[in-house]
């Protein structure tokens, strides 16, 4: 990573430098079997969640009056069985996956935007502004955020938009710290000096020069944030505070399954397995990316 940034590069040469870094990372990532397998499995799950419901004979809310709480039954094409209201569990699991994955991605993006902007600004401006902004982060760190998220969900309705905001608002702190640290080291580089000399505004430098160069660690952290966010949503849904009917998510399905597991094990096991595999894959990919992008850390 360091030799890629040696020498102050004119803006025109930047794409070449960027690509070589990413090619390098990709080469290292490809040798990591766990990460590659995870990537493939995750892609498979994502495709299944998006395409699968169209290929199955049942819709999200279709009730099969011949089958309430039935075990997996291939003849009736209820491959995962049905739940208490006669709705097909496979379809619901796949739909739930759509929601869970979407929450994971959007929640991460929200925290990414807040965290990167905050961290880059703080690190770049430095001095008193920096120490004040980081002081605020320290204070926020010690707040038990989970409780506030729960309160938010309870008191301000349980719509999905709020889930994104709440989750994003909880998760940006680490991102801000990481980006700030990166920014502090980047801002002493010659190309920043050159940009200053050319009269680029501070915000322009942050946007065009600082943020793109912090991407490596940010991407790694992002991959590791997605499973956290999915977990958080499942946690809320499990308490009955997350996604609401008629929508569903893995957390909701697991919660329903946990309540009726004594009579219908499949209602708990299938969504739980999907959630677990997804979380596994994301964690392995994150670890793999970290090794690939930051060779010192191995």
């Amino acid at each position: 990573m360091t030799d890629a940034t040696i020498g102050s590069l004119p803006p025109a040469a930047k794409p070449i430098k960027g690509r070589s870094l990413w090619q390098d990372a990709w080469r290292r990532l490809r040798t990591n079997k766990a990460a590659i397998v995870s990537l493939a499995v995750l892609a498979l799950i994502a495709v299944a969640c998006v395409v699968g419901p169209y290929l199955l004979p049942y819709g999200l809310d279709d009730v099969d009056y011949a089958a309430f709480t039935t075990a997996p039954d291939f003849a009736a094409q209820h491959y995962f069985g049905t739940e208490a209201n006669g709705r097909d569990l496979l379809v619901r699991t796949l739909y739930g996956g759509q929601i869970s994955l979407m929450v994971g991605i959007v929640g991460t993006l929200v925290s990414l935007i807040i965290g990167v902007t905050y961290g880059a600004t703080s690190g770049f401006l430095g001095g008193r502004v920096d120490s004040m902004m980081m002081r605020l982060v320290d204070v926020l760190y010690s707040l038990p955020f989970m409780f506030f998220v729960i309160l938010l969900m309870v008191f301000f309705g349980r719509n999905i938009l709020l889930i994104f905001v709440a989750i994003g608002a909880v998760n940006w702190l680490d991102m801000a710290r990481i980006v700030r640290g990166q920014t502090l080291s980047i801002k002493r580089k010659e190309y920043i000096e050159a940009a200053h000399a050319c009269g680029v505004s501070s915000w322009g430098i942050i946007r065009k020069h600082v943020i793109p160069n912090t991407l490596g660690p940010v991407i790694v952290y992002m991959t590791l944030t997605v499973p956290q966010v999915i977990l958080l949503e499942s946690f809320l849904s499990f308490l009955g505070l997350g996604v609401q009917e008629p929508m569903t998510s893995w957390g909701v399905l697991i919660s329903e399954g946990a309540r009726s597991m004594t009579i219908a094990w499949w209602m708990l096991v299938f969504p739980a397995v999907f959630l677990a595999i997804t979380l596994f894959c994301l964690n392995f990919i994150g670890d793999g990316l970290r090794d690939a992008l930051d060779p010192r850390d191995r």
Partner: protein
């Protein structure tokens, strides 16, 4: 060290005040209220109720009154569970939550360190990979999935342990504690392994081995002490995680701890109960973090307080 502790405690005061204020105004800004019912109450009754709980005063006065009471350790009466004060409810629930939480922390530390050390000593053997694979499972699978699965297997299918409640004596606490301590155990095992591997390669361990110390003493006396520092600093976040986790676990296993009161209070808009539990948990987390920082300093002579 003493002045550091005092400074940290003083530094925590604004945080706690901020928590109280945030929780207070967030709850009051929300639509609905503790006396909102399907059938509207007669106006006089509602007015009398609001008067009795000082809900008719302007918000800043209510806040001042509440703050004053909290500073004297009085969380007020519960709005929904009449005849109970929040203090009483906290006092009732706390022993359960504390027991489960403390034992979970202890279990997680013990087994996490044990497995992590073994894995580090047998680095790159099947034992190491096996332990780390299990740890990965413990980290990725959330405890609200593990807990029902454990119940399904041990309580429903095999009928070894009770599925919930607290009526069966100490055996009813086994599953909650296991479920609660699983994620931190896994995390601590990974942390321990990583730092032990690093310490095992350091010069002072080589010296200890070179002068002929038995391997057991080298590890117990020299390696572990240095290798456990990251674990100690993780105990702060771990406690916060266990406290949050206990909300779900208490819900699943039907344990009458504080976590359940929090959820109940939030769903019933029991203002004072929610505030009480949030403040209680927040203070607990802050205190524990402080404790961990002090412990860290006691273990690591390189840390200076200034």
């Amino acid at each position: 060290m003493l002045s550091y502790a005092v400074r940290r405690i003083l530094g925590a005061i604004p945080t706690i005040l901020a928590i109280i204020a945030l929780a207070f105004f967030m709850i009051r800004l929300a639509p609905g209220g503790p006396f909102a019912t399907d059938k509207p109450l007669p106006v006089e009754i509602k007015r009398n109720l609001e008067k009795a709980y000082h809900l008719d005063e302007p918000l800043y006065m209510q806040f001042g009154r509440y703050m004053g009471n909290v500073l004297q350790g009085d969380f007020g009466p519960s709005f929904r569970m009449r005849d109970y004060s929040v203090n009483e409810l906290l006092r009732q629930g706390f022993p359960y939550s504390l027991q489960i939480g403390l034992i979970a922390v202890a279990v997680a530390s013990f087994f996490g360190i044990l497995f992590g050390t073994i894995a580090a000593l047998k680095q790159n053997t099947p034992g190491d990979y096996g332990t780390m694979a299990i740890a990965m499972i413990g980290i990725t699978i959330p405890n609200f999935v593990v807990a029902p699965l454990l119940v399904l297997l041990l309580a429903v299918t095999w009928r070894i342990l009770p599925a919930g409640g607290i009526t069966a004596g100490w055996t009813s606490f086994i599953l909650p504690i296991v479920a609660l301590s699983l994620p931190p155990t896994a995390y601590i095992a990974r942390l321990t392994r990583a730092s032990m591997i690093e310490v095992l390669r350091s010069n002072f361990v080589r010296t200890a081995r070179a002068k002929g110390l038995p391997e057991r003493i080298t590890i117990m006396r020299h390696t572990l002490k240095a290798g456990l520092l990251p674990v100690v600093s993780y105990l702060g976040p771990a406690t916060a995680g266990i406290i949050t986790g206990s909300i779900v676990i208490e819900q699943i296993f039907g344990i009458p701890g504080i976590g359940r009161y929090f959820i109940q209070g939030a769903l019933n808009r029991d203002y004072t109960l929610v505030m009480g539990t949030v403040i209680f948990f927040a203070v607990l987390i802050i205190l524990f973090n402080l404790l961990v920082d002090l412990l860290y300093g006691a273990l690591d002579p390189r840390v200076r307080y200034d």
